[in-house]
């Protein structure tokens, strides 16, 4: 079981990294989502795996799972939605503005600062 979860984390990470290194916005977003899954599952697994012991207090139950990583991951899931939405919006804005959804700015010579506003 531990092997299954750990390998799932590994596979999600590997696929996430590969997609993040693609050249278009959409696969990059997918890659970041996969990495998010991997990180969330990883954090969740830091409470160690337990079957059939939810963190709901009951009379007569002795074994509970670790509730703390669950609480942290719960908010992480919701926040990751916010993050994905912002990234998608930025990617969409860039595409609509330039009709181009490459993540790499090919024009490396673009000025870093507004020359007209330079002190000179």
């Amino acid at each position: 079981m531990e092997f299954l979860v750990a390998s799932a984390i590994g596979i999600l990470t590997a696929a996430g990294i590969y997609l993040t290194l693609r050249l278009r916005t959409f696969p990059v977003i997918l890659g970041i989502s996969l990495l998010t899954y991997a990180v969330n599952v990883f954090l969740f697994a830091s409470g160690r795996l337990l079957v059939g012991g939810p963190p709901i207090l009951r009379d007569g139950v002795e074994v509970y799972t670790d509730p703390l990583p669950q609480a942290l991951v719960l908010t992480a899931i919701v926040i990751s939605f916010g993050m994905t939405a912002v990234v998608v919006m930025i990617g969409l804005g860039a595409f609509l503005g330039a009709n181009d959804d490459h993540v790499d700015d090919s024009d490396a010579e673009a000025p870093l600062v507004d020359e007209e506003e330079d002190m000179a």
């Binding site: 990294i17 079957v51 963190p55 919006m89 506003e117 002190m119």
Partner: protein, 957 residues
Amino acid sequence: MSLFLIVAVPFLGALLPGLMNQAGRSACAGVTFMVTLIAFIGLLTNAPAVFAGEIVQVGIDWMPILGLNFNLMLDALGFFFAMLILGIGLLIITYGRFYLAREDNMGEFFTYLLLFQGAMVGIVLSDNILLLLIFWELTSLSSFLLIGYWKHLPEGRQGARMALTVTGMGGLAMIGGMLILGQIVGSYDLSVILENRELIQDSPLYTPALILILLGCFTKSAQFPFHFWLPHAMAAPTPVSAYLHSATMVKAGIFLMARMWPVLSGTPEWFFIVTAAGLTTMVLAAIIAVFKHDLKGLLAFSTVSHLGLITMLLGTGTTFGAMAAMFHIMNHAAFKAALFMSAGIVDHEAHTRDIRRLGGLRHLMPITFVIATIAALSMAGIPFLNGFLSKEMMLEEATHTYLFGPSWLVPALATFGSIFSAAYSFRLIGHTFLGPKRDDYPGHPHDPGPGMWLPPAILIVPVILIGVAPFLVQDFVFLIAEAVIGDVGKLEVKYIKIWHGLVPALYMSIIAVVGGLIVMAVFKPLLKAWEGSPIPFAKTYFDLFISGLVRLARIIIRPTHDGSFTRYAAIMLGFVAIAGYYAWATGTVGAPTRDLQTAGPVEIAGWLMLVAATGGLVFLHRNRLLALILIGIVGLMVSVGFVFFSAPDLAMTQITVEVVTIILLLLALNFLPKSTPVESQPLRRLRDGAVGVAGGLAAFAMAYHFLLRDAVTTPISDFHLANSYKGGGGTNVVNVILVDFRGFDTFGEIIVLGIAALLIYALTEALLDGPVRARLLNRNPDTPIAGDVHPMMMVILTRVIMPVVIMVGFYIFWRGHNEPGGGFIAGLIVSIGIVMQYMASGFSWAAARQRYPYHGVIGAGVLIAGLTGIGSWFFGKPFLTSDFTYVRIPPFEKFELATAAFFDLGVFLAVVGAVLLSLESFSRLARRAHVKDPEHPMDIDPSRDDAPQSAVAKGGV
């Protein structure tokens, strides 16, 4: 009034001008005036204590572990400066009300002004040097906003940037100096530092600390060689120049030198650095000022010169020098603020500040002429005006100061500077107001209304009063001087008199005035010689310095920040790999302590689905719709995994988030291309694949490693399990952690979520405002739109389901404290219910029935959560302490009521607002020009007669 309030009032009041902006300019200025007046009266209520020689102190510990305490003190020195800041502030606000044009945003201006005022008051009342540094930096920032207030002027922007660069760098140096000082003494409290003169001056770190602190003071007070920013800051509106550059900000450096005088002065280092810098500044700036044609430029350099004079007096290290410095600050603030305001009046009425285009204005502007003349004569050092008294004290002090050997050097230089000081004062009067009337003024000069001339006129009163009857302020000056000197020495009481007998200072004064008249007489040839001489401009060097820095930054940044996202990602992955390797190589690995659990066929099947979906995503991601389905499977399998491993809350959250994420990505795909082209070389794909596999293996190894071992130290989780019911009143420990144990975290997280949603909204607005709008409106969808966009079945179904969804959300919310559920999940469920309405019935139909703006829902959520937390203050408990009780309302079962439920309600609202605002923003992009918003939710509706017509219309959301 408490000192806390005096400092806090301008900051709190800074909110008001912006709010009053709509109510008119007088209301806006009036409310600013009232705020300053309240602080001023508050200051005056402390006057009896200060005049009795007491030091008013208040303080609370802020971060005692760092030595940062919010301690304030008020002695005569602080009182004097605070009075200047607030008193002249009142006049400036009145003047500014009439100076600013109708198109200037007055609320913005007065907000900045009050921020600046609060920061200045904070500096002069601070009793902790770290606190003082905070206010010090705040003055730099707020003055940047004020100097650059006219954003359309390039000079304004450049001047503001230059002022921020110079004073900001000085501020950084000063932080270093202050930290050294605090380390030497072992306390950051000013009152403690001031008692340790010997300790500080004997320390080997005294010289570096002194130099760093003086760098801060000299940059702020525009001392040579950092004087050049002040004239460039004159691009600011005149009220700002009059306020910042005569009475307040540039005096901050002087104030700090005076404040630190007891511990830093008296050593040879102090004497040489401060006196020499002051003397050089005074003479150089006076000479430059004479040849400035811009009225405000002339005043700016004269200010620099006078600041040099004050610095020199502080540098001598004698008690008389300190007293003369304080007296001159008082006099200079009065006549210089009046002069700046007069220059502003001339600019306002004649539409030019160029002295060469002025002259003869005494006929047209008699009131301004009188005010400016009296102030300028005081600046020149003419008897019976206040400038004469302190200038003579300076000359007197100069005769006793020996710098670099010859005894005549300092007096001669001081007299030389005074000649030019008299000369520029005479030039200001002569070339602006005297002479024949001209016909070619750009405007029609005439005296302004009393709103503009009264403030400088009020300042003329002390100019004359002190000049004629110096004994009126004598005791006050002594009091301030004693506060500066502290325990170091005894103030040598020399009475301030107009006539001291035939002393050297008198002859020097006479030489200065006569010399000034001679300079004016031969002004034309002098000007020709000046313009012919190769004088280096400090701005040129500053620009060279800045462009050098920019070039250096580019050399460093270019190779790493070249706009290639994949390169950034690769660099980050590389660093993670190195850090991971370091941790692996330096740590120790213990033997496994946990047994492997066996996996059944169902678990393996789930794992296989996850792996298959992930693998499919890698190979099939070019088909974007298919990729969405595959990532949906991944999300589903992750939620199933959460259920299996005893995390029902997580599973519910994951699956609901999955739904809204997929909807969001679908909306985005509406605009994006539907497939990803093959672009990268096979070699590159191989390389990326190798990086991915390496990362995956590392993640697997780490996860597998710790899954087989117990935690190194005892986890704090047992505490939560043990106290969840007793302390938090809930049996769902995860929910109790979220809303109670770690409520502060959750509070922060809903704020982040809200900000993310607002960011999406703002980006949408920006897109719809720009050129993208036209492209969106004329877009031809790349896939055909369904003939029946809003099918009747779906409309009916979603509407029937809606109350059920709300009911489920309500149920999930209420049971959250004891059973899986809670605000996050309930919020997501309700959001999905509402999004279904948008999808089924169309954006415009749903939006028209949506009464509460989602911004407000987010705000209400954060506010409710915050107020719940604040509520516990009223019971003397820390923020977000929760309480609960059991209530029984017949005929219901007994149920539990916890304050945490209100907090959870806030979470719920914030989540609903954030999710819906994000999705709504996306769908707003989808509205197009040639498709009219349908009036009805359904395109085909048998109960309507006009069905054929609307059925033809295609489109919608």
